[in-house]
Amino acid sequence: MLTVKQLRERGGFTLLNRREPDADREISSVYCCDLLSVVMGKAPAGSAWVTVMGNLNVVAVSALADTACVIVADGADVEDRALDKADEQGVILLRSAAPVFETAKLVDGLL
């Protein structure tokens, strides 16, 4: 079992939230996609969602599809207001410098 906190530490990901979030949730799986309604339909609840999108809608989708966290891969930019919204909604945003596939592979290896 791997919590979001452990994932962040062991994966060497950067926490983007300005406020320290509650990161004790267990991660069920890893899921990759950038198309929001595909994520909505297919991302498993509790998954670590890897994407290169860093906009406000990503935060909404993570909250509503109930993913354990979002990992913004490839060092992609995250909008300021997305960070505000993430804090407000308790969505955990992590950043990975590696591309999507390498990021997901790393997460999978930790699970």
Binding site: L35, L36, V38, A45, N57, V61, A65, D66, Q89
Partner: protein, 143 residues
């Protein structure tokens, strides 16, 4: 479960940054009511996709939610361009989303299929040039 609860949301068609806020607010209410996380997730997905469609395709509208002991009912009403071929719009992958909307991550043509998948009942009434009303129900009993 408490007695019937009715909620109303006005959805702005101009402000993309607020898209999804009504769905987030409803999620909070459902949490407070103590509904299971799988029911909350189904309602959230169904409502969000409908809310986003109203914002990106119909210039906003209204959402009325009714919660009773048996189900959550959603009515999403807009006065946008309408949908001329509903069967086509319901197909996975069909989308008329613009380039700018696609660049935000929308436009996979999966919103309406998701709404159907996550609701127990769904009906679309639409008249081109007049608007669209989507009715959905999610039963509370089934997991």
């Amino acid at each position: 479960m408490p007695k019937n609860l009715k909620l109303h949301y006005d959805i702005s068609g101009e402000d993309y940054t607020r898209a999804g806020e009504a769905s987030a607010q409803l999620k909070q209410v459902l949490r407070q009511l103590g509904l299971s996380s799988s029911i909350i997730r189904r309602v959230s997905i169904a409502m969000y996709e409908g809310e986003i469609n109203m914002v990106i395709h119909a210039n906003g509208g209204t959402i009325d939610v009714e919660i009773d002991s048996a189900c959550v009912s959603l009515i999403l009403k807009d006065t946008g361009p309408g949908i001329s071929e509903i069967d086509l719009a319901m197909k996975e992958g069909y989308s008329t989303a613009s380039e700018s909307v696609r660049s935000m991550g929308f436009g996979a043509g999966m919103g309406l299929p998701n709404m159907r998948k996550h609701s127990d009942y769904m009906k679309i009434d639409s008249t081109p040039g007049v608007g669209t009303t989507v009715y959905m129900k999610i039963a509370l009993g089934e997991e």
